[in-house]
Amino acid sequence: MLKLISYLLQQGIATNKNICPDLADGVRGLPMITDVPCSTGCTACVDVCPTDAISVFKIEESGHIKLDLGLCISCGYCVDACPTGTIANNPSTRVAVSRREDLVLTTSSQPSENQKLAASALVAAPDSLEKAHWFKRSVAARVVSTGCSACDMELGAAGNPIFDMERFGVHIVASPRFADALIVTGPISKGMQEALKSCYGAMASPRIVIALGTCAISGGVHRGGYASANGIEDLLPVNVYIPGCPPHPWSIIHGILVAMGKERLAPRPVARLDTVRIEK
């Protein structure tokens, strides 16, 4: 035991002080839309997308795309396929949002289009981010896994000495009875729907729900199958969405910070439309 303690002391502090830094070069994050115009009639991104997250449409003869990060499994194929550089790799780990429609990116800045997106995007308006101030100092989270375990492992990693999410006041607890937040991973197929609802029902108010990972948001690659693995949308109201397959531990921490109303510790990079111009 003394050997172990002395080893741990020798190792020093491993924790990263820089909160939610960008991903290293060459590491795939989610895609983003740059301000380079899309070429009309091109469907390269739509053709390679495994989850139909991208659609193309036309406004006055110019080509536009719509990209739903809630369906995206960050395979990066669209980034590789895009001939103009309209879709690029987003190195940011600050990707969590509190409204489902904010996950839908588009090249069109026309209000009509955005309204349509907002209307199609979803249901259950979070009653809630006002609730966030309840959990500003600490949040006890119950995790319900209904998926393939990658998101669970990344959540576990977020608790390791490098990311150390406990320093932000986040505790993973073993019972819904003393949980403030319900973190859901996986596409919630038929088998787990009842169990998930009971778990939510056992939580005291005020309570929030965090959908962790693309499967939890929309079902991801499993969407539309016979097992009704279509994500959380028709089951529970959601307060924070963390897209990714799986999201990076920093993205998970970012999502929890958003849920706690502590987003200022790691603000989302401004603007999606006027970000970087990629030379190709």
């Binding site: 495994p50 088998g191 690659v221 499993h222 016979y226």
Partner: protein, 497 residues
């Protein structure tokens, strides 16, 4: 790999299997399923010769049942239950015939993979309601755990029957994360199917994509470039490395040596960083696809080699402290013991089979990337207990580090990805076998007359191994269960699909 396809009448199948799957035989059962509900498909593997044999036994459609194989060959017990769940084929005389993966939420006559109509006189003998095996007797009580567990892990239900602190029986009920992966794999265009195959169990994403790629390539009859084969093997070993590190760390958590688990958690981060270098993804997602791999730069390869060398140095003191810690050794010794004969009888694979002396590692038997040419030697132990499993894992961390180094050194220049034809050939069969970090993983694909995938079957190593926990934990204390469970580290999603 050569896959021999044989028609085998149903009444000969019993004899053939009874003769083949004996104690001293070299052959083992790969998987057992059906294509569309009109036949039984048995995959037999011969690890010694590296060959496989596929037995197709047509069923009489009006009867829709056959004599169960389980009473004589125990390893068929879950295969036959899954066969009924998916196809509605009844194994007559199965000693514990009940549903395996589909729960009460599904309608009684719902058989998702069945393509031919059910016989008119079909009577569903099995209600959806699930009954656990009941242990009767004064002082025996039941302890239900799950499906939602206390920690951050996948869902499953454990029903313990205990007498005092001692576990008399453990029944495991899975299927909570059944997502319909096998069906989905037949619905998407085959060029995009590797994303679904990866999601079968994402902690095994690389091995699943690898097995998928081998199966598709064997249908097309193509061989990928030498460089792609090296890179695939490196990726597979990186996945094994990262998962073995965290699984050894998990043993530390459950013993109470939190210093070990936090150190291992940190070092796993380094291994995941190496996965990032080769694939741009910590879980190696999207790296392997039919036809090859994503491009990797020489600089990243040399960084991986440097990373492996430094990781070996970093791991040594932590592993030494764990191995020398007497408290840890005594906690693991003689707990959760699995006998070699039962492991053999139930066809168990991977770490837990090697920990009771079964020398089977599919890397040494079946072609997968640069294996068996560059495969490391098998690590085995004889104890069959938690200590033996941990030792095998520690031994494999060392051989894996060496193997990655060897592979990086040997990796030639060349193309990473080849162009594949648009269509798969009609009526073909493809087989991919990969040694995932949990053990032998099998993907078996059938195409129809139009060259579309008509049946996609996955056999995760956990499918055979779940029974091992029930066997190993019997007569142990209830408090030993978490540690025993962790030492097996099985997959729920890979089993449930």
């Amino acid at each position: 790999m050569k896959l021999e396809r044989l028609e085998m009448p149903l009444d000969e199948l019993h004899d053939k299997l009874a003769r083949t799957l004996t104690k001293n035989s070299n052959k083992r059962l790969g998987l057992f399923t059906s294509i569309d509900g009109g036949q039984l498909v048995t995959l037999l593997l011969d690890p010694k010769d590296g060959t496989a044999e596929l037995l197709i036994s047509p069923l009489e459609l009006e009867r829709n049942k056959y004599r169960s194989l389980t009473p004589h060959l125990a390893q068929f017990h879950w295969f036959e239950r899954a066969l009924f769940d998916f196809f509605g084929i009844v194994p007559d005389g199965h000693p514990r015939f009940k549903h395996l993966l589909l729960h009460e939420e599904y309608e009684a006559d719902f058989f998702p993979l069945r393509k031919i109509a059910l016989p008119e006189n079909f009577e569903n003998v099995l209600p959806r309601r699930y009954e656990f095996l009941e242990v009767k007797g004064e002082g025996v009580y039941e302890l239900p755990v799950g499906p939602i567990h206390a920690g951050v892990i996948e869902p499953g239900h454990f029903r313990f029957s205990c007498f005092g602190e001692t576990i008399v029986n453990l029944e495991i009920r899975l299927g909570w994360v059944h997502r319909g992966v096998e069906k989905r794999l037949t619905e998407v265009p085959w060029q995009k199917a590797h994303f679904v195959a990866e999601a079968a169990a994402s902690d095994t994403a690389c091995a699943n994509a690898f097995a998928h790629a081998i199966a598709i390539e064997s249908i097309l009859g193509v061989t990928v470039s030498e460089r792609a084969q090296y890179l695939r093997s490196i990726a597979l070993e990186l996945e094994r490395l990262a998962m073995h590190i965290i699984d050894v760390g998990g043993i530390g958590t459950d013993i109470g040596l939190l210093g070990i688990s936090s150190a291992m958690g940190r070092l796993r981060g380094k291994a995941l960083g190496l996965a990032d270098l080769i694939s741009g993804s910590r879980f190696l997602r999207g790296f392997i696809s039919p036809g090859g791999v994503r491009p990797v730069s020489e600089r990243n390869l040399s960084e991986i080699k440097a990373g492996v060398i430094s990781l070996r140095k970093d791991l040594a003191p932590v592993i030494q402290i764990l191995s020398e810690n007497q408290m840890a050794t005594e906690r693991m010794k003689d707990i959760g013991k699995l006998s070699r004969s039962l492991a053999h009888e139930f066809g168990m694979v991977g770490i837990l089979a090697r920990a009771c002396g079964i020398e089977y590692d599919s890397r040494l038997s079946f072609k997968q990337g640069k294996f068996p040419e560059l495969a490391p030697s098998i690590v085995t132990e004889l104890g069959g207990d938690i200590l033996a499993r941990t030792r095998v894992r520690i031994g494999e961390i060392a051989t894996t580090l060496d193997t990655i180094e060897k592979l990086v050194d040997g990796c030639p220049h060349g193309e990473e990805k080849m162009v594949l034809p648009e269509k798969l050939p009609a009526n073909a069969t493809g087989l991919g076998i990969v040694e995932a970090f949990r053990g032998e993983l099998i993907h078996l694909i059938f195409t129809d007359e139009a060259g579309n995938i008509s049946r996609y079957s996955i056999k995760d190593p956990s499918f055979q191994n779940w029974t091992a926990i029930s066997i190993a934990i019997r007569e142990n204390l209830i408090a030993d269960f978490p540690l025993c469970n962790k030492s097996m580290a099985l997959s729920y999603s890979g089993n449930d699909l």
